[in-house]
Subunit: 140 residues, 2 copies
DNA sequence: GTGATTGCAAATCTTTTGCACTAAA
DNA sequence: TTTAGTGCAAAAGATTTGCAATCAC
């Protein structure tokens, strides 16, 4: 091992930040590791901030908000609108949809190929389709 | 005309309120007329309040919020989630979907029969599908 | 009358902002 | 250095809530 080696996981996340043009600061690196290294998940700013605190990572809530939006703008995350009170961010940026459990506010992914839309109206003149969001709302 | 006659439009709205178990107060009656008599539309509490003011109807914003939620609970309106910052209410309570113009924040209805979902996953065990919401997000 | 409804102002909650401080490059 | 990024506390915006006054029945 040469003295310039960097631990593997860091490098991966680091490159994704660099690739997005985001300076890899301590906070961004820590949040990116929490979000991008494990399995796909859904977080709110509040939850991510609490997790960071629990992991003894010093980040302010304002920075968590900023970071979530920067990551979203960079395509590393996707924002999901299912609740008009709170924003959710999804680490799964591929084409897919959601189950939303009203009551527990839990979000589950539905793989894109499990929903087949056979027909859909064309967008109004002058408008371009940015995304089609399908939310199956559930009661438990 | 007997002396107990009530102007026609009022009666209709009045009955819907009574049917919903809501005491027809001056405020509820005025808001119900604004919402339920014309063509279908989408409102936020803020917008409805401003319209009421413009029409010289004295209603507080708090009452507008309460009323929108009561109407929704009664099935007279439906709440649409397209923006995590603000709640929209739709006077069209039939099965249908939406176009959402990001940027101008405009909502347009898509009749239910214009979207055909050919296949969809079953709800997780123990959960019941309450509604399937499809939002086609547009950029202008 | 009396219980539901309203209005107001204050409280709450999520999110954004201004600005002095800190840290990447 | 120099400039981007951060933290804090304050501000902002949407919505809810407590409670006395008011209204429908």
């Amino acid at each position: 091992m040469s003295k310039t080696d960097t631990p593997r996981p860091y490098k991966q996340v680091l490159d994704r930040l660099r690739g997005a043009g985001l300076r890899p600061t301590r906070q961004r690196l820590a949040l990116a590791k929490m979000l991008l290294e494990g399995p796909d998940r859904h977080v709110t700013a509040e939850i991510l901030h609490a997790e960071a605190q629990a992991a003894s990572i010093r980040v302010s809530l304002a920075t968590v908000y900023n970071t979530l939006h920067q990551f979203t703008a960079a395509g590393l995350l996707r924002e999901i609108v299912v609740d008009s009170q709170r924003s959710y961010f999804d680490t799964n940026t591929s084409d897919h949809h959601h189950f939303f459990f009203e009551g527990s506010n839990r979000l589950d992914d539905i793989p894109g190929d499990q929903v087949v839309v056979a027909s859909m109206p064309p967008p109004p003149a002058g408008a371009k389709v940015k995304r089609v969001d399908i939310v199956i709302r559930l009661e438990e």
